[in-house]
């Protein structure tokens, strides 16, 4: 009987758990977010940033709460009035706090859990005359 229950639980949990702890790094705005060292025109670094966000989920990450994790949106928010972010690095996972929350009070993530997302980069602004902000009309040459 016990074995049957465990088997039933094992079959049900995956069905409930599809898409657990999902993180979508998406951005649809006008800021230029790139892992390159610069943009298509001369810029200067305004400041460096390193941001972290944490989200709480119920039932092994199946039921998210609050604002979704999104490292690209975090980077865009950091850009503020400036045109974009360069040297961008994005990452997600669980740090020590996440793992403690997820495994101890949340009982091995069965009841709940937390997940984190990080973004790090340099906010830049154009130097010289301010050009019209563009996502980089392809130019004939490259300095890659």
């Amino acid at each position: 009987m016990m074995r049957t229950r465990l088997l039933a639980l094992a079959l049900v949990v995956p069905a409930l758990g599809a898409g657990c702890f999902t993180v979508n790094h998406q951005y649809a705005g006008e800021k230029l977010l790139t892992n390159a060292a610069g943009l298509d025109r001369p810029t200067r670094v305004v400041r460096h940033f390193s941001e972290h966000d944490r989200q709480f989920f119920w039932l092994h990450g199946g039921v998210p709460t609050g604002k979704p994790l999104n490292s690209l949106q975090m980077a865009a928010d950091q850009a503020g009035p400036h045109p974009g972010v360069v040297n961008l690095v994005v990452k997600d996972g669980q740090d020590l706090a996440d793992i403690l929350i997820t495994h101890v009070p949340c009982v091995l993530s069965l009841l709940c859990g937390t997940w984190s997302a990080w973004a790090e980069g340099d906010v830049v602004e154009y130097t010289g005359s301010a050009p019209k902000m563009s996502r980089g009309t392809p130019l004939p040459s490259t300095t890659r």
């Binding site: 465990l6 949990v13 995956p14 069905a15 758990g17 599809a18 898409g19 657990c20 702890f21 999902t22 993180v23 979508n24 790094h25 998406q26 951005y27 649809a28 705005g29 006008e30 800021k31 230029l32 977010l33 790139t34 892992n35 390159a36 060292a37 610069g38 943009l39 298509d40 025109r41 001369p42 810029t43 200067r44 670094v45 390193s50 092994h60 980077a75 360069v86 040297n87 961008l88 994005v90 990452k91 997600d92 996972g93 669980q94 740090d95 020590l96 996440d98 793992i99 091995l108 069965l110 790090e120 340099d122 830049v124 996502r135 980089g136 392809p138 130019l139 040459s141 300095t143 890659r144």
Partner: protein
């Protein structure tokens, strides 16, 4: 002497585990080809095409240690000459397969033996190389996220 070694071993083990725990827990560093542009309005034009790749990344001990040979770096190939990679979006999740694998092998303890997670990357290859002028005062620092 043996007792002293034992006393020393425990904090060392705790330190080692703490370091590992803060360094490798289901971490996914989304490294893409140089000069990749993330998100933004969809760029088009002739020859533009969307590419997508999804990869499994399994971990040992509930995400503590990633198994080797399952890299998620550069999930999209570098653009060919005369192209650039833009509109990149990333998704990471425990999909149905991952959760199933997590539960079935030994019920919940399977999670500590083989815990897979999936990463999906989608990008748009657009004709025309992207010119990059390095930013003045750009960081020469190494990212703490890598």
């Amino acid at each position: 002497m043996r007792r002293q070694t034992s006393r020393l071993a425990r904090p060392l083990l705790a330190l080692l585990l703490s370091t590992q725990l803060t360094g490798c827990l289901f971490y996914m560093n989304h490294e893409l080809p140089p000069n990749t542009v993330f998100g933004g309005p969809r760029e088009g034009g002739s020859g533009a095409h969307v590419a997508e790749n999804s990869k499994l990344k399994p971990y040992l001990l509930a995400g503590l240690l990633p198994y080797p040979f399952f890299p998620t770096k550069n999930m999209l190939p570098p653009p060919r000459s005369g192209q650039h990679l833009t509109n990149v979006e990333i998704e990471t999740t425990f999909n149905a397969f991952d959760t199933f694998v997590w539960v079935i092998p030994g019920f919940f303890y399977g999670y500590y033996v083989f815990a897979p997670r999936h990463a999906k990357v989608r990008g748009n290859y657009v004709q025309g190389e992207r010119r990059v002028v390095p930013a003045q005062g750009g960081a020469t620092r190494t990212s703490s996220l890598r």
